[in-house]
């Protein structure tokens, strides 16, 4: 089972005082899958994802990430995952190249591998002319693509993306998804949250979170069929309407 | 007017909901009053003395007894080994040493010059000279008892009166300084940061596109700090009168009037800083580094202004707190009226008007 599943959660829960942000969720993500993690604002997506990355301790329940226990082996998990947060979180006062070298370095890439990866990455992103510039001066779309590339620089088994394309124009979003597909083809499991339903269609399977619980989980086609609607937009609307927590 | 009150209410809510700001506002002044009032003074109590007694007779015992009876000194050790002095100074276990020569008796009766050696650790020159003069006074006293019955044919007797502060408390000088420091800190730092915060978060834009007059917006930001400062002043005054036995000789009304001028002056300064910067961090740095440290050093309450080099003394003239410090001392301690401080008052008013003028001009430029 471990070899087949990248993420397994069982009754995973996080409460803040009397408020249960994530309420007993259980699901599995297969290796190499692109898994969409959907939900309205405040449904508990980010909290769930932060638990899976080891940034936040669960209140109860269990989970295994890349075969490691989420309680005991958080540090081992961290060698196997990449993470890109909602907020842009590379160093704005370092250059493109310096950011790549830094994150590659702390993931333990050898000098040779670092050099190779840096050049490859700059090449794929088409950032040759920008590589010596401070990240702060890049447009948002470039920053997001760079952040993604940095998140997978150490070839993790799983990468977690928290609304990676927020505020980005449609063309850049396309390019961003090309990067995701490429990574998936290399065998990296992708776990992504998004508000764009067209992006949900790109996923192998999606889950819908409503009020801290998983309300539905299946491939986009099957979900559309199940709720008898045309698009993922309608699926989302159908499920999210039942939510009691508003924004 | 109604709109204005709504804004003022909103500002009060901001202030009272932020516990860390409140701590800065009221906690810091209270801690400062307690520290300055009770903990900090230059008065020396029980300084450690090392005595090198080569005589070991009645006279030397009498001298040692006199010194240990004084509350300024504590005799740490009596020895005959001269080399212990340097070691004790290096160790920090004595501040001053007294060497009594073996022929002290002989010297008392026949000598005209030097017999008792007082060696001080002058790495701290102030303590050293104070301690040396204390020892001299004790010896002078002893000399008088030795000569009892053989009084000089005539004698000038000094009668000393310590004006304003008979017990020579340090607080008398510090409290007026702390008041000026706190009022400045609260007004300059808090107003500038709170205005810049609105700029940073973008809510300033919303206020400026509202039908409100922009000046009303700014003034309403300043009003809560004006009142908070007056409350702060009251707290400090009550603490210093009740806890520190500070006098309040002059007119309270006059004190509040002068304080209001200083507060207005500080508020205008805060406004000016907030108009010149866009980030909270910059506003804080300017207020703390640029305002607080010079105020602390050059107001005259921590260090006497007249000791400083002339350029610094001139520079101190542009600090509102310097003038306010003089005013508070005159009113609270000396009990003087407006006639004695009209010059300082006029300077403060002048500064306020000038600062207000500049900051309003800057504000207008930003708007257009």
């Amino acid at each position: 089972m471990n070899s087949e599943h990248a993420i397994i959660t069982d009754q995973l829960t996080k409460s803040f005082g009397s408020f249960t942000a994530v309420d007993h969720i259980s699901f599995e993500v297969k290796r190499g899958e692109i898994f969409g993690f959907l939900g309205a604002n405040g449904a508990g997506k980010t909290t769930a994802m932060r638990m899976l990355c080891g940034l936040s301790k669960p209140t109860s329940g269990s989970a295994t990430i890349a075969g490691f226990d989420i309680y005991k082996d958080t540090e081992k998990i961290k060698t196997k995952i990449g993470y890109m947060s909602q907020k842009f979180s590379l160093y704005e006062d370092l250059t493109v190249k310096e950011n790549i070298r830094f994150f590659g370095g702390i993931y333990g890439l050898s000098n040779k591998a670092l050099k190779l990866q840096t050049n490859k990455l700059i090449d794929t992103l088409g950032l040759e002319s920008q590589s010596g510039k401070l990240v702060a001066s890049l447009p948002l779309g470039w920053k997001q693509k760079l952040a993604f590339s940095v998140a997978v620089i150490h070839e993790p088994s799983i990468v977690f993306l928290d609304e990676p394309t927020g505020g980005v124009d449609p063309i850049t979003r396309r390019q961003f998804w090309d990067l995701i597909y490429e990574a998936a083809q290399r065998g990296i499991t992708i776990f992504v949250t998004t508000h764009y339903m067209d992006e949900a269609e790109y996923c192998d399977r999606v889950s819908m979170m409503v009020d801290g619980k998983i309300a539905a989980l299946d491939s986009p086609e099957k979900l559309k069929l199940k709720y008898n609607v045309e698009s993922m937009d309608d699926v989302f609307y159908h499920l999210a309407r039942a939510a009691k927590r508003g924004e | 007017m109604k709109q204005f009150m709504i804004f003022v209410k909103k500002e009060f809510k901001h202030v009272f909901r932020d516990s860390k700001t409140l701590l800065m506002l009221f906690g810091l002044p209270i801690v400062q009053i307690v520290l300055f009032g009770f903990a900090l003074s230059n008065e020396i109590k029980s300084a450690d003395v090392l005595i090198c007694d080569h005589a070991n007779n009645n006279y030397s015992h009498e001298i040692i007894h006199k010194i240990s009876a004084s509350k300024s000194f504590e005799v740490k050790r009596v020895t005959t080994d001269h080399s212990e002095i340097e070691e004790a100074f290096k160790q920090g276990s004595a501040k001053i040493a007294i060497v009594i020569p073996s022929d002290i008796e002989d010297q008392i009766f026949h000598s005209t010059h030097g017999s008792l050696q007082v060696i001080s650790d002058a790495s701290d020159p102030n303590t050293a000279s104070t301690l040396t003069s204390y020892i001299s006074n004790i010896i002078m006293d002893y000399k008088q008892t030795l000569n009892a019955g053989n009084s000089p044919p005539m004698q000038v007797v000094p009668e000393i009166r310590m004006l304003y502060n008979p017990t020579l408390k340090g607080a008398t000088n510090f409290v007026p300084g702390v008041i000026s420091l706190v009022l400045l800190l609260v007004c300059v730092l808090m107003t500038s940061v709170s205005i810049v915060k609105e700029k940073e978060s973008g809510s300033m834009e919303i206020l400026l596109v509202s039908p409100m007059n922009p000046f009303t917006v700014i003034i309403s930001k300043a009003v809560p700090y004006f009142f908070l400062s007056l409350i702060n002043l009251t707290v400090i005054l009550i603490m210093s009168v009740v806890l520190l036995d500070m006098p309040l000789n002059g007119s309270i009304f006059l004190l509040y009037f002068e304080s209001s001028i200083l507060i207005l002056c500080a508020l205008s300064l805060g406004l000016l800083i907030s108009n010149s910067t866009d980030s909270q961090q910059a506003a804080m740095l300017i207020s703390l580094m640029g305002m607080l440290i010079p105020t602390m050093l050059l107001t005259g309450f921590l260090f006497p202004l007249e000791n400083m080099p002339l350029p610094l003394q001139y520079f101190a003239n542009i600090l509102p707190s310097k003038w306010y410090f003089i005013i508070v001392k005159s009113i609270m301690i000396k009990g003087l009226g407006i006639s004695a401080i009209y010059k300082e008052t006029l300077i403060l008013i002048g500064m306020t008007v000038l600062l207000l003028f500049i900051s309003i001009r800057k504000f207008k430029i930003r708007l257009s």
Partner: protein, 373 residues
């Protein structure tokens, strides 16, 4: 080890790129070290005196001469109205008044004793105390001279005498700046260390980059080391500049004690201090909070360190605070080693205490620093 290298490279690049931070780090200390000792001068000099002489006799003249020629006082006014002199006091133009009553000489000769009145502006207690004691000793001298004359003319028996000779070790010129400069250097190192270290970490929290670090397998202690080493280096750098450039060239302070001892203690102090900065950063979420907390503690640390007022003068409870303050120990060590040439054996206690502080703050901070919430 390799990870640490990457962390350090990053930190140094960021520090050197920060255009608003760099002047703070390098210029501020030098300027402050130049200006502060000039301002922070407690040395009591220029005591102003007003003399009111209602007698205008030979004896009153002698007394006035003795006062004005003593070198302790500056005569600002001379007249026969006490009210006028009092006005000078009120305006802070004068610090004390010596009033010689009328019939001073007459009474002195007739009754053998006569009072003079001294009024001191005691708002500044230190200055008042010293001024009064100088004036007192001048008058005692004056009396003694009268006595000597009397003995010489056979009008009195010889006096028993004890003369006091004073020596001032380590600082024979009684230069107050020599006392202040080493301590102010400590102050600067403290400000830079505690502020910058805590703000730096909190900034990563505020911007969100710390999240990106927290999902990496980086070890907690390595990350903390990576933050502390740059500020350790900066602290040592500032100290060195201040010590060898400003203190030596401008104030001619040559340390009597061992430099290795001094630098060893500086190292211990910085480790303790940066631990404290780290601790602040673990308790604050925003730079504004960190700044407020740091400012509050800095204020207490500075006032309660014996920098401006001697610790011996504090009441018992305040001494406890002073001796729970790491700054106190470093200031003492600086003054001891630099000014008096104290040696290792003289400061062993200080060393143990500072090691204690370093362990205490760093353990607390590391325990409180969490990669997960």
């Amino acid at each position: 080890m390799r990870t640490l290298k990457f962390l350090l490279v990053k930190e140094f690049k960021q520090i050197f790129r920060n255009k608003s931070l760099l002047p703070m780090i390098f210029m501020m200390p030098i300027i402050q070290l130049l200006v502060l000792p000039l301002a922070a001068d407690f040395e009591i000099k220029n005591i102003n005196i007003s003399i009111v002489d209602h007698d205008r006799s030979e004896y009153s003249n002698d007394l006035i001469n003795a006062v004005t020629s003593s070198g302790y006082f500056q005569l600002v006014s001379f007249g026969d109205s006490y009210q006028a002199a009092m006005n000078e006091i009120e305006l802070d133009a004068s610090d004390l008044i010596l009033e010689i009553p009328s019939h001073f000489e007459q009474n002195l000769i007739k009754d053998g004793a006569q009072q003079v009145f001294i009024a001191v502006n005691a708002i500044n207690g230190t200055k008042a105390g010293l001024g009064a004691s100088y004036l007192n000793s001048i008058i005692q001298n004056f009396n003694q001279n009268i006595m000597v004359d009397a003995i010489a003319s056979g009008n009195a028996a010889p006096l028993k005498n004890i003369e006091v000779v004073s020596l001032n070790w380590f600082n024979p010129n009684m230069n107050y700046k020599i006392f202040m400069v080493p301590a102010i250097l400590v102050l600067l190192v403290t400000m830079v260390g505690a502020y910058m270290c805590s703000l730096n970490i909190v900034k990563e929290k505020e911007v969100g980059t710390i999240e990106q670090i927290n999902v990496t397998p980086i070890k907690k202690h390595l990350y903390i080391l990576g933050k502390m080493i740059p500020f350790l280096v900066i602290g040592i750098f500032i100290f060195t500049i201040g010590f060898f450039v400003v203190a030596r060239l401008v104030y001619q302070i040559v340390p009597l004690g061992n430099l290795f001892l001094l630098y060893g203690y500086l190292f211990l102090f910085l480790v303790a201090l940066l631990g404290f900065g780290l601790l602040i950063s673990t308790y604050s979420q925003t730079q504004q909070q960190a700044m407020s907390i740091a400012f509050f503690f800095m204020m207490v640390f500075i006032l309660m360190s014996g920098l401006f007022t001697p610790i011996e003068s504090m009441p018992e409870w305040a001494k406890y605070i002073a001796y729970s303050n790491p700054v106190t120990y470093f200031i003492e060590v600086m003054r001891m080693v630099v000014l008096k040439g104290s040696m290792l054996k003289n400061i062993t206690n200080h060393i143990y205490v500072m090691i204690g502080f370093a362990i205490f703050f760093n353990t607390w901070a590391v325990m409180n620093y969490r990669k997960t919430s």
